[in-house]
Subunit: 646 residues, 3 copies
């Protein structure tokens, strides 16, 4: 079970390193990430490497039995590099070339940057590939820089040529007949730079796809260098979510050995835990069988707009256990020791500015042993027979398009479905592609805007075979090129859903539609009488259409009824707000994670041994507010949902 | 009576063209606008024209008896053009040259652009000047692009040399003695590019005037090419209103054969109809005797901030009739068939994505015959003895100046006066110049900031001869160079109004002033005792001054009293909210348009024949909510305003 | 006693000059500022000077006995200069070079600009150094333009080399180990231009320090030219406050002969007077013994966001007297005569657009004699035994740093302390450095973020010697390089305060902390039980720590108790809201300024002669709302605070 965080010895002196390693041992730290942003410390001038300090640190960590995720430092090229290769600095859509002085000041399409990144990766691989501390390579940091320069433009054109083959195909896909944008020569195609009025939405969408692939190429180059240098050491890069991140993690997850995610929730209330649960289920959806790890999180702060909120005592521990409950191979933090200067000097740390005589460090000391007690769950699966779709390209397309309402947000819709299922006590995967639905009984597609013909066919086959599909508004409205499918919405799914939508009517808060039944039956109606929610029996399955944004309770009721019909039981029925109950299983064995973030005691109704305390848990055990248990369940029968009386 | 809309065959294939023409015939479409934004389809490479598809479409339309407003496509130069002539791309005030990828990516001062625009206009004129479908040339689309490049700077200087003759005159007009801006050489004069702090307001004002004239030159060049190629075919361009539009439509209206306006109201409530009425009366004011046409409007949507509102059933038809009531030669829509891709793919259309089996298309089918039944009103005048001033340069000057309050908005003030008159049931013209006031009994000048000496003299002569002038705050405060006239506000009108304003006191919401009487008498007082509204009898007329922003009711009461004294009767007295009643007359004949956008029945009190139904209308006829009538009035006496009891 | 304002004869003709001088005499004007922004009128082409008009004006003023603050016009280079030296135009952080067309379009690091500024200063010095009207040189106007160009970058590097000596020292101070920013060559160091993500806060802080010093160099060059040309004539420049002003006035005040400040309050309510009092006490704090002058203020307007508020009758006079009460050598206004054009044409003036027949001008006529009656207070000191710290570099550092809360605002905190003291009736100095605290009994340091070791030592010595120090949250947390001092907050003052702060907990509105006592005792507790306010007796003094943002009343109560213990008496105890009572003293003599901005009568309790009326003031005199008195106090005993019964 991984426990630790980002560690930046280059900001400190040798005495501090020694103190840190001793403190890490005391806290039961098992893994630290070293080397992120250390380029200017590692290569002080072109080709002049200084590995001495890193040797010392890695040797010390190895001696202490602490493993290292060694990072390549390529997210922050040194000042000398930017001066030598100004063409490697990113350019904004307005043509302004950015200056060094922060981080992420690179253009992934600049050959000089790519070559330098390979070189420093090779140097690290050569020197540390066989180091006993090395457990994992972490390439770069939070890939996500977008550039609009001429080098990028050339790479974008090459990508488009591979994607479309011919200009005719591109003109068709981009609908360049609109507003006289027909391209007669590849050289005319550009990134979506600042222009006079609305941009072409497919150009914007493809540019995000391209940027994701271009960054992925940059990642793969380093990965391949590191694999060659150190066969057998897994390689990954840490993901981050956000509107600014032009990365389709589905495609990336095929290229990493372990899905590593950073998570900084955006609000301090209970939705922080909801958001974390969503991201965990999403990371698990991306990772498939290769596993995932919460690579960065803030120990004791939550960054809300305009203010850092202090996590309440115990919350860090509960959040760490919640990640493990949903499959994380541990809990890692940014950062080990707080910086004394630089742009993030008030960022949270396990060793805060105040030092070790602090609540935060004491909680860190306790967390290591706590996590260690859960080690037996490593490798156990999280059971989920329900899936919620989350499709980055649909989110991009919806953001790029002038929609009938600005309020449409694919991520919010996916989280809405996830929240409804959580209320029911049903564990779900959040999935980014529709390639293998066979393991699921129920699938929710919320505002999954872009749908290919073959995806529509796969969905139809899956429903026909017994799947329960729940589609919400704007799903399947467009093809993969963000072109509306004609003849009535949602074009790709009209037949499967047995409906034909004539018009959208976004409301001041919400959404409504004129829905015509074409095989489906209405189960919920608008105040004006038209169908709002419909059901279409297809083969041995059902295709539901939700043409509006349901209130939380109504959404949970609907999904609960569908799940019940599909034979999907909750882990525990409708746990109260703030209570997470998730089961992991491995063959006959199972563990029930129960975490009470709320303010009321919870009658858990479980039988077995709590790994955290070693105590026996009986049917009458109460989970106190703020407490968590990891119950190794007594028997298969103990797993069944509680009976009458609940 | 024109009925139809923008049609973009270049986005579709031949089978769709054939379907479209059949559908247009079914709907009674009489005019479609073709060719807007079709440049890259018409000229696929420099000088390589492809007219075949347009031949087919125009021939098909001609065969179907549908006329064409043939557009020149110059608002969207093709990608190849922008690459070949990068100097033709517009530059922002920050020096950033925009990229292609949208529309309107041209600089009207770039010789290469102007030459290319003439060439494509000539090619269209040569090929289609004699085409039987051709009814109208529509040059460009919504002229309004502002550029700050060096070519523009040179053109601006040439314009200034023509305007001022000498640098001394410019220095005086621009008050360059302020902040050390005196120009000693013409080459020093620049557009108002991004600068350190506040810009010179007269420089900004003159730059907008210049931009309007420069775009007008571009229009005129194309118009002259088309006139030469096709004598007898009227030429126009479609106007659009908005803060971003640097165009003084008064000057443009002298150069078009038909005033064509686009209108997209900005809110979905009843103010949409008020806004449409204002714009219609403004278009009529611009057009004088040459007539006007609602060239673009959205069939079934209203674009409000952040959300598209679906028009309620019947609203499209009522809005079309409301335009005809106020003089439009028909009702045209953007667009005929919804695009499947591109930046405006959810823009409204008569043939929506859902196709012809739709409420919208069914209403479109009915609208053609409805409009056709009103054909006999073509050429009839809209009677208005009251005028409201709307002065684009005053709006610009107020926007460019650091005023005592940010809340001053010339357009809002003009709409306020228009709304007050509408409440009274009084039809007014909205006029952009003061050249011929002889037809009016009452004139309202709302925040008409810039006033020349000769305009002031003309107003004095008109009042002396019996006119009733109502001037609101900030009118006449500055001269044509936006310099304050000294000695007390409003300098140009002080004598005529018989007042002297010492200070402005903008309020949190509203405006007040310290007004001294100098011949006028006060009719309304501020709470503090000072004059708020004053009246000055001059010759056989009256000059009123309104030093504050009156509430709607008080404004209507004031204007109603003034109109009554002037012998101006409403068409129908104080129609309820949402009811429009407008009369058109031709010699002895008259038609009463009555449109009920509201929710209550209205006792219309008219006698005659309703053109829309052919039914007889009697004194007791009730106009239902949502309904409209066009009553060919039985006799001159029927026109008089209702008698006692109303 | 100075009375007058900015006067721009270059905007007017000779007849107006003659009228103006006559009006100034009538109003008792004693000083006018001439020449600001007159460069293009004085030097119409390179080297071609036109001094004729200025000769005439200065001669006329001298004849009328009116003195002149002659300004150098260097804040607004003429168009010809900007064209000849485009490199002298400032460049924004995005690399956009600004255009002329406003004011302040200069780069202080451009050699051509600096040379031209020296030349015009020399020309003015040579011609007018001996002019009888000359009383004061005013260099430039509101220095504050920031530039990011390459010339600036070079100057920044030179400044950094002087500051740090070595790159190692810079790398250490800037914590460049964070995010790989280590500089291996001076050439790599740049201004904080637009970059990808968060900037280095110490780089930003040093760039502001540099900009202040660079502008100060530009000032000093002109000052030295003028001093050489006219020995004995004092030289100054007018300060302005604001977030955009990168100027540390403490350093500037060492270089001027008179501290001159411009003040435009930002709200129209009573806080305008509070803000003016704060700025006056701050100007006095900067000026030390050399005196200060309110150089610019608006006669009859207050500029609030979006709206200009008209000052109520009498308010201009009260505000002028309030400045004198706090040590200003008079009251000067922007401007004498309102401009008729240009960017500030609605700016306030003593002679408004309406002319002399106006309330404003009548109040201006009365103000001259009023101020003249207070002449005997010139040179008298303002007594203050309490000081509040205001530290521009701390304000900059807090603004540059990603803090736990966006709501931290050094200036607001300083004003908060000042307001609390004002409520108590205690006069304070606002001080910008801690070099000489011996005159103070109490010192409040509000969010004084940056503290050097030697400053901490001086504070300790001062407290040990009997000083009462009140430190609020975030003070002393960082060193002069904005690096957090480790081991517990506030590092530099932990020992002196006898506390150790473990964590910050910013609240939705407010701030709280986990405070551990380490010698101090808690006097106020948080609801949760922890110390909120603490007191630490050190030597014969006290060191208080306020870890939260206190409500106004609680803050006043706390500071009142501390002041009482320190033996500091209010001038008058807790004057009601809106009443200012300030004493000036000179040897045995004293004057009590009492100004009632509020709405209730005030029992002043003073004895002496009111200089404004010549009337005797007795113990029972009531100060009416809106009234002001300057009481020459009868005796030393009359100065004592009111006795029992108050």
């Amino acid at each position: 079970m991984f426990y630790g965080g980002d560690y930046n010895p280059e900001q400190w002196t040798a005495p501090v390193w020694h103190e840190d390693i001793a403190l890490m041992r005391a806290a039961g730290v098992t893994l630290v990430t070293v080397g992120v942003f250390a380029w200017s410390a590692l290569e002080r001038a072109p080709g002049r490497y200084d590995f001495g300090w890193l040797d010392t640190v890695l040797d010390g960590l190895a001696d202490a039995g602490i493993r290292v995720a060694l990072a390549t430092p390529t997210a922050a090229p040194p000042p000398w590099f930017s001066r030598r290769h100004p063409e490697s600095l990113p350019v904004g859509p307005d043509g302004v070339r950015l200056s060094p002085g922060s981080r992420d000041t690179y253009c992934a399409s600049a050959p000089a940057y790519r070559a330098a990144a390979r070189r420093i990766a090779l140097a690290l691989g050569a020197r540390y590939g066989g180091h006993p501390a090395l457990a994992l390579w972490r390439v770069h940091n939070e890939y996500g820089t977008t550039c609009y320069c001429d080098l990028t433009a050339a790479a974008f054109r090459a990508w488009l040529q591979r994607r479309y083959g011919s200009l005719d195909a591109l003109n068709d896909a981009w609908t360049t007949a609109f507003w006289s944008q027909r391209y007669g020569d590849w050289e005319l195609v550009l990134p979506p730079r600042r222009t006079q009025y609305l941009a072409n939405p497919t150009q914007v969408l493809d540019f995000r796809r391209f940027t994701s692939d271009e960054l992925l190429d940059a990642y793969r180059e380093q990965r391949d260098v590191l694999r060659a240098a150190a066969p057998g050491i897994p390689v990954t890069t840490n993901y981050v979510l956000g509107d600014w991140v032009p990365v389709d993690h589905v495609r990336w997850s095929r290229e990493v050995d372990l899905v590593a995610v950073d998570h900084y929730p955006s609000s301090s209330g209970p939705s922080a835990e909801e958001e974390a649960a969503f991201l965990a289920d999403l990371a698990r959806g991306w990772s498939g069988d290769k596993g995932w790890l919460l690579m960065e999180s803030a120990p004791n702060l939550i960054y809300t707009p305009g203010r850092m909120h202090t996590k309440e005592p115990g919350r860090m521990t509960r959040q760490a256990l919640a990640a493990v409950a949903r499959g994380s191979r541990g809990a890692m933090f940014f950062q080990w020791r707080a910086s004394r200067g630089g742009a993030e000097l008030f960022h949270s740390a396990l060793v805060p500015h105040a030092g070790t005589d602090s609540r935060v460090f004491r909680e860190a000391l306790a967390l290591g042993p706590t996590l260690a007690r859960t080690t037996e769950v490593l490798g156990a699966a999280v059971e989920a027979r329900v899936a919620v779709g989350y499709h980055e390209p649909s989110a991009w397309a919806l953001a790029a398009t002038v929609l009938p309402s600005d309020a449409v947000d694919h991520r919010a819709e996916a989280r809405h479905a996830h929240r409804a299922l959580s209320r029911l006590g049903i564990t779900c995967d959040v999935v980014g592609d529709l390639d293998d639905l066979s393991r699921y009984a129920v699938l929710v597609l919320p505002c999954w805007y872009l749908l290919t013909d073959s995806q529509a066919a796969e969905l139809t086959a899956w429903v026909t075979g017994g799947g329960r599909l729940v589609v919400t508004y704007l799903s399947g409205v467009a093809d993969e090129h963000a072109r509306v499918r004609l003849g009535g919405y949602p074009g790709a799914l009209r037949e499967l859903l047995g409906v034909r939508v004539e018009e959208f009517h976004p409301l001041a808060s919400g959404w409504s539609e004129t829905v015509h039944l074409a095989g489906a039956v209405a189960t919920v109606f608008y105040a004006g009488g038209g169908p709002a929610v419909t059901r279409h029996r297809v083969g041995s399955g059902d295709a539901w259409y939700v043409s509006t944004r349901l209130a939380d309770d109504a959404y949970a009721d609907l999904l609960g009824a569908i799940a019940t019909e599909a034979g999907v039981a909750p882990v525990r029925p409708r746990p109260p707000a703030g209570v997470e109950v998730v089961r992991r299983t491995a063959g006959d064995r199972s563990w029930l994670f129960a975490i009470n973030h709320g303010e009321m005691p919870y009658d858990l109704r479980a039988e077995g041994i709590d790994l955290l305390t070693g105590e026996t848990v009986t049917w009458n055990t109460v989970l106190r507010p703020g407490a968590a248990m990891v119950v190794r369940e007594a028997s298969a029968s103990a797993r069944s949902a509680p009976g009458v009386g609940d």
